[in-house]
Every structure is written in C-alpha cells, then in structure tokens.
C-alpha cells in the first residue's frame, strides 16, 4: 500500500521533470507528449483510488484498534456497539453470520451453476446455448436491492410458513431466506466462469475418451471435470468472495442482531449489515461505533482480496497449462 504511494510520487516527479525538460522544437511533439502524460495521469488515478481506499480504511481502523483489542475483535463473541455503558466489539458472531449465509448461498449456487455450465458447454446445441446463456445473464443484471425485497417479502414468509406447517417456528429474518436468494444471484457468475473453463479443456482428451467408447456423461465426469477442477475451485472462491461482500440482500432479509449460531433457521446478522447499521444512527464520525465499522470494512477488504487473488492465480495457472493444447 505504501508501495503504491511511493510509486505514484516517483512517477509524478518523473512526469513533471520530463514535461519541463523536454525542449522539443516541434510543437506537435510537445502536444503529443502532453496528451500522453494526460493519459498516464488518468491511469494513475485508477491506482490512486485503490490506494486511497486502502489508506482511509486502514487509517480509521487503526484508530479503532488503538483503543480496542484486535484479538478480542476477531475472537470475542459479544457485540454491543451501541451500548452506552460498556460497548463490546467482539465480531465473531458477525463473521460467523457472514460465513453462514455465504455458505448457504454457495450450496445453492455451486451445484446449479456447475450443472448449468455443464449443460451449456457440453450438451446444449449452439442455438439453445445462444438463448439460455443471455437469459441466465439477466439474473446477474438484476439489482441486489430487488433481490433483497424478494427475499424479505416473498421468500422469508414462505420459509416461515413452510416450517410452521411441520411445527417448527422460524424467525422472519432467518438466514436461510437471504442465503438462498443470494445464491440465486451468484448462479450466473459461477456458470459463466465454469462454462468458459470447460470450453478450454483440450479437445484431445475428449476425442480420446469418445474413441474408447465412453459416453458423453462419463467423459464429463471422469475426464473434463477433473481437468477443470482447479478452475472450478477458483470460481467457487470468487462466488464466496461475492457472497461475503453482499449488502442489500442481507440488509433487507436477514436480521440485525449479532447471533453466534450454526442454525440457518435463526436470525443472524453480517459484517455488511453491521456497517450500514453503524451509520444509521446519530453519532459522531470518530465514535467507537463508526470506527468499528471501518475495522469491519478492513477485515472484509483483506479477506475478499485474498480470495480474489487466489482465484485469479488458479485460473491463470489452468490457462497456462492448456494454452497450446487446442491449437
């Protein structure tokens, strides 16, 4: 992160130096150069943004961690940030809630997404594929707030009545509803990634498999999927990352109460909901509650960054291995 800042400052200094030392005779050359520097500036803004993002979150988080124990933040089970007498900042219930809902989402999205990708890339004719693939993309284009409303207004009551018909009482803010809807939202992303990967599996393997008298399904199960497995893992990581960072669906359908439990039928809250909640009251910007939101944001940022980097690394490795096999 400081590397970013150092780099930016060095480059800017170099820019200024070149701009003023370049006594080119031709007006055209100077113009050309200045256009180029303008473009470089624009690009640097893009890096700068990430850098500023990291810095501001880090800055405010460090202010929080100056007064509160990091250890307790990550392992403590009591979160009562709004308590006036003795606010506690143990974020474990929040992390557990976030992970629970993300796992529910993945248990919906991964099977459906994987099979959709299998069907689209292996079984569907090109005409069918041309129709179904864009249709699934529509699911990806729906704003998350719309999903959230659907989860709260339709799915949650359905789950409640479903379970009450077998005599189990379930909260209206149960984690299952938001998890399922979140999963639906992620399906297109998983499908698209895995579909892409399955099309890159070298045809030499499939040709060999068919010539040995294996059926299409057997070829997929025994040859294609094992070859594609690192990329499928990468897709899952990306899906989890997306699920962890999602706000609106859980804000509208999940609970507000930090609840450390493994029961998906209970209400629980997530890191993202907590962040929104921290700013909906009337407290000053440097109060412990608002700073705790930055600390949570920091944890979220680091975690999603790790997942994403790992995912990209796995996909790159997969593509490098088979880059020349389909030529």
């Amino acid at each position: 992160m400081t590397l970013n800042t150092v780099l930016i400052i060095t480059i800017l200094t170099l820019l200024i130096y070149y701009l003023y030392s370049n006594k080119s005779k031709k007006h055209k050359d100077r113009f050309e150069k200045s256009i180029e520097y303008l473009l470089i500036l624009a690009s640097l803004i893009s890096i700068a943004i990430l850098s500023i993002l990291e810095h501001s979150i880090l800055y405010h988080s460090s202010k929080f961690f100056a007064d509160h124990s990091i250890w307790y933040f990550f392992t403590g089970t009591q979160w009562s940030a709004d308590s006036l007498t003795n606010p506690q900042f143990g974020a474990l219930p929040l992390f557990v809630g976030t992970v629970m809902i993300a796992l529910i989402a993945m248990s919906v999205a991964l099977p459906i997404g994987l099979f959709c990708a299998i069907y689209l890339s292996q079984f569907a004719s090109s005409k069918t594929r041309e129709i179904i693939k864009p249709t699934l993309e529509i699911l990806a284009g729906i704003p998350t707030i719309v999903y959230g409303f659907f989860a709260a207004a339709s799915v949650a009551p359905f789950v409640v009545s479903l379970f009450s018909s077998i005599g189990v009482e379930v909260s209206y803010s149960n984690a299952l509803s938001s998890g399922i809807v979140l999963g639906i939202m992620i399906i297109p992303m998983i499908t698209s990634l895995i579909d892409d990967v399955m099309l890159s599996v070298p045809q030499s393997y499939t040709k060999a498999s068919f010539s040995l008298g294996l059926t299409k399904s057997e070829t997929i199960l025994f040859i294609i999927l094992p070859v594609a497995s690192p990329a499928i893992i990468a897709a899952s990581l990306l899906g989890i990352s997306r699920a962890l960072g999602e706000t609106m669906i859980v804000l509208m359908a999940a609970g507000l109460r930090p609840n450390l439990t493994l029961n998906p039928l209970e209400d629980m809250t997530t890191v993202t909901v907590r962040i929104v909640d921290a700013f909906s009251g009337d407290h000053s910007f440097s109060s412990a509650e608002t700073l705790s939101a930055f600390a949570l944001g920091f944890a979220l940022f680091i975690f999603t960054l790790i997942l994403n980097t790992l995912s990209i690394y796995l996909v790159k490795r997969f593509h490098n291995r088979y880059r020349y096999s389909n030529l």
Binding site: S125, S204, Y205, A208, F210, L212, G213
Partner: protein
Amino acid sequence: MSSSIKISIENLNLWYDKKQILHNISMDIFQNQITAFIGSSGCGKSTLLRSINRMNELIEECRIEGSVTIDGKNIYDKDVDEVGVRQRVGMVFQQPNPFPKSIYDNVAYAAKVHGIVKKGKECDELVETCLKKVFLWDEVKDILKEQATSLSGGQQQRLCIARTIAINPDIILMDEPTSALDPISGGHIEELIVSLKEEFHIIIVTHNLKQAQRIADHVAFFDSGHLIEYAPSNILFNTPQKRQTENYLRGIE
C-alpha cells in the same frame, strides 16, 4: 487369397453442413488384414475412417447416407448405440493424446468403465499384457504411477495403442499414427502394427506411400471424396489400373 469380409461399406455419402465430402463409397475390408487409405490432403480418407467408428457425429452438422456393415449389422441402424460401436472399433490419433493421468490409469481406465476387468489383480494383469503387446512394458514397468505426459512422443503413442487394445476391440483405426513422430519411433510403431495384425483388423490412413507399401496388405486410393482404386498392395503400387492413381504415385498432379 480370399479372406472373409469384416466391414462392408455400401454407398456411403457424407455431408458437413451443405458440402459433400464423401461420394458413394463402396468397399469391403477384409479380416486380419492391414488396409491403408491413401490420397492427397482433403481427399476424405480421414473422414471415411471416422465414419467407421461413428466419430463424425461429434461434429454437429454432419449428415450420413448409406451403410457400414460390421459383422452383419449396419452400424448406422437406428437401434445401434454409437457408444457400443466404439467399444468394438478403436481409434489411434495422429497426435498422441494420453489422458492427464498415470500410465497405469491410461491403460486401465476405459477397461474398467466397460467392466472388462475389476480393480486389483485382474486389472494389473490386463495393463501388463497390453503394455507388453505394444513393447512398452520393459520401459515403464517401474514408473506405472507416473504421469503419462512424462513419456516421449513415441512412447505416448504406444501407450495410446495399449489403451485402445485394452478394451478388446475387433477393429483398430489409425489416423496417420506416425506422422507426428520421428522416423525411428515411427518405425517401431510400424513393427507394432504388423505384430497386431494377427489379433486385430487394422485400417490405417497415411500420406506416407513408403509406409503403405511396407505394411499394408490392401490399399485404397481416394481423391476428392471418391474411391478411385482399391486393390491388394502389390498390384496397386506396381500396376495401378487408373491414370489418377498412377499420377498420384508418381507425384504428378
């Protein structure tokens, strides 16, 4: 010498999309013979080869008319499952394409799926037998668990042949099996092919006329999707009946 007929191709026509690739091919393939398909690039010999194990159907817009009869049954009949055909008609490709698995698994895999052997001693024996038949056993018997990709090109091709014979087909189709290999490895494969003639019926596509002369019993010459001449090897090479064949053999357009 009259041999009995193994494969009977009758009036075979094939189209990719709207373009006709094979025109009215009719020929009989004889038992325990090596039959070679020769001809210039694009003459349809590989396409015809693929018609015998129904691999053409993997390409979407392929249309076939006519029949290919093996052991008295037309493989294009409605009640024939193409997967079943490929169990009896194996194929070896130009580029060696072993699975990204161990040497052992490459040979054993399909055999296990077909239920020919079960895991364990039965399977070990099958792997050993097949690798011995392709003269690969001594070279790999200590490294069976290693990835197949660690072998050389020639060894990989022999492995592919071993894998094919492991499922006990009747017929083996070979699509230019040596053109991706160096002459020495290619020579080994040729010896191997001849040794397999006792057990299997082999059809080989090759653009290497010397190779065809060396190993084939019967030769079929194709041009632009038509069967021009089909005769025992020595007759076709020494006394070709058609002008086209003669020109091809001499390298004249």
